[in-house]
Amino acid sequence: MRVVTIAIHTFKESVRQKVLYNLVAFALLLIGASILFGSISVGVERIILITLGLTSISVFGLLIAIFIGIDLVSKEIERRTIYNILSKPVTRVEFVLGKYLGLLLTLLVNTGIMTAGFYAALYYQKRTLGPEDLVFLGAVYFILLQLAMVVGVALVFSCISTPVLSAVYTFCLFVIGNFSADLRAFGQQTENALLGTACGALYYALPNFANFNVISEVAHAQKIPGYLWVGNSLYALLYITILLGLAILIFEEREFR
């Protein structure tokens, strides 16, 4: 129950941030502009709208996830509210979980708004929406899973570093996580056994964000395979559990004076 209360408070606090509105507004603007981009091209109007629209949701979702994720501990320390919270019968585990769920709710609402904007743009272009357009919700679901992992990463970094560095680290890890298949390929092709093993270990240890990228597939009206729905959901769940576990372990060790 205390976790839910913290989550709701975190959500209320997050939605007060002006940067959030700016990002969502900019994302909606870009989604709207994708109609224009499509109209100056030939034969790919719909594809441009879908790829640019979903990419906007992903990119701005990523920015939102990083911005809200890095403030978790630092802001509480800065405002000295952490002392009030931890002096109450609230465990650090409940605090971290509540904060994470609150941030997740914020992401869910923002992604929902951007998705509504995307479907509005799609409706404007097609003048109709059909069951075949539901496939884009799958891509949005995967984006959300990806963002939930990014918030988890930001949360871990925010427990050990400053907000600016946490943002940099999280962004870097997101970039690396999108190239993890190359990391594995590099490990397989190198003749150095130690380097190969290290690359293989890193491939499994680092979050594999490339698993979740289905924007190109849905833009070409390809269905998302069933194994990917199950596999990605399970992967995100496991990885988020790992990240939350690490964040709790770090937060438990921290001393606030």
């Binding site: 585990v93 993890s180 298949a181 190359d182 390929a185 092709q189 491939y203 499994y204 240890a205 594999n208 490339a210 698993n211 990228n213 289905v214 190109s216 597939e217 070409h220 390809q222 395979p225 194994y227 990917l228 596999g231 990605n232 399970l234 992967y235 496991l238 990885y239 559990t241 790992i242 576990g245 690490l246 709790i248 372990l249 438990e252």
Partner: protein, 300 residues
């Protein structure tokens, strides 16, 4: 329930449980990722598609980091080519466009023209089998880097090896030899190719020059492999002549190459450049040992 609550209220127990959970999740993650990889996972593809096929557009989008982006694309070229080679694929559809993007992003990336032309010109499965595309790439390199005379050497090789156009090869070597800073042997190369194009001796001369001048380990190794193949071809030719001579003098073909040694035609059992002994097949023809690392197909 109470004991569970008591367990988790203790910080050390909580930490242990947390570590255990993290470890368990991580252990589950590995087989899950493997299963995703097996089904296509992060390498799902829509076939071979380049979403941004224009180097010029990419250059604009790179916000001034076109040099870095060119390096990234060059790495992509190498990975793409290497991946295809490992998979024994004979189709290299994206090789040309990827090289085009790389060289538009950085027109002075010499290595992309030189290696790229080898990748493009070599016959499948060693390469894309597109010598004309390789020539176009090299000519773009020459336009962007007119002072780099070695492109002419590469042009000459494509004409010589892949198009078997010895006159054009000689002209390319000649044009290269006239560039400022060009090595003097380029002129000799032009003359030799013009006079004896297609001869094994000329090929040997060409690859010896490449091996001698190679500024790169891969190029040197490739030249050495070709030289070994040429040497083995020459050896097999000479050995076949000896077998024919033995047959003529003894009235029957030799049972093995040892018979040639025993009869005094050879001083020792002949070995190929990789050190493996040549063998005589049932038809009386000398051929490479199956364990030999010499690849005669390089000369086809």
């Amino acid at each position: 329930m109470t004991s569970l609550h008591a367990f988790f209220s203790h910080p050390r127990s909580r930490r242990r449980a947390c570590w255990l959970l993290v470890l368990l999740c991580f252990l589950c993650l590995i087989p899950l990722q493997r299963s995703l990889d097996l089904r296509g996972g992060s390498e799902r593809a829509l076939g071979e598609v380049l979403f941004l096929p224009s180097g010029r557009v990419l250059r604009q989008l790179s916000l001034g980091y076109d040099g870095l982006l060119a390096d990234v694309y060059w790495t992509r070229v190498v990975q793409y080519f290497g991946g295809k080679r490992v998979a024994h694929s004979t189709e290299f559809k994206l090789l040309g466009p990827l090289l085009q993007i790389t060289t538009v992003l950085d027109p002075h990336l010499i290595i992309a023209y030189r290696f790229g032309s080898i990748f493009l010109a070599d016959k499948p499965p060693r390469g894309a089998g597109e010598p004309l595309e390789a020539l176009a790439l090299l000519h773009r390199g020459i336009v962007a880097n007119p002072e780099y005379w070695r492109f002419w050497e590469d042009v000459g090789f494509v004409y010589y090896w892949d198009l078997k156009d010895y006159a054009a090869a000689a002209r390319a070597f000649q044009a290269g030899s006239e560039r400022p800073g060009a090595m003097t042997w380029m002129r000799a190369l032009a003359a030799k190719v013009a006079a004896e194009g297609g001869e094994l001796g000329t090929s040997k001369f060409l690859w010896s020059e490449i091996a001698r001048q190679a500024g790169n380990e891969q190029i040197r190794k490739n030249a050495e492999e070709h030289l070994m193949a040429i040497q083995a071809t020459e050896d097999i030719g000479k050995l076949n002549e000896l077998v024919a001579l033995y047959n003529q003098r003894q009235g029957q073909p030799p049972r093995s190459l040892q018979a040639l040694v025993a009869a005094g035609y050879l001083r020792a059992s002949p070995r190929d450049p990789s050190g493996k002994p040549y063998i005589l097949d049932a038809d009386g023809h000398v051929k490479l040992n199956p364990r030999s690392s010499v690849d005669l197909s390089l000369l086809q």
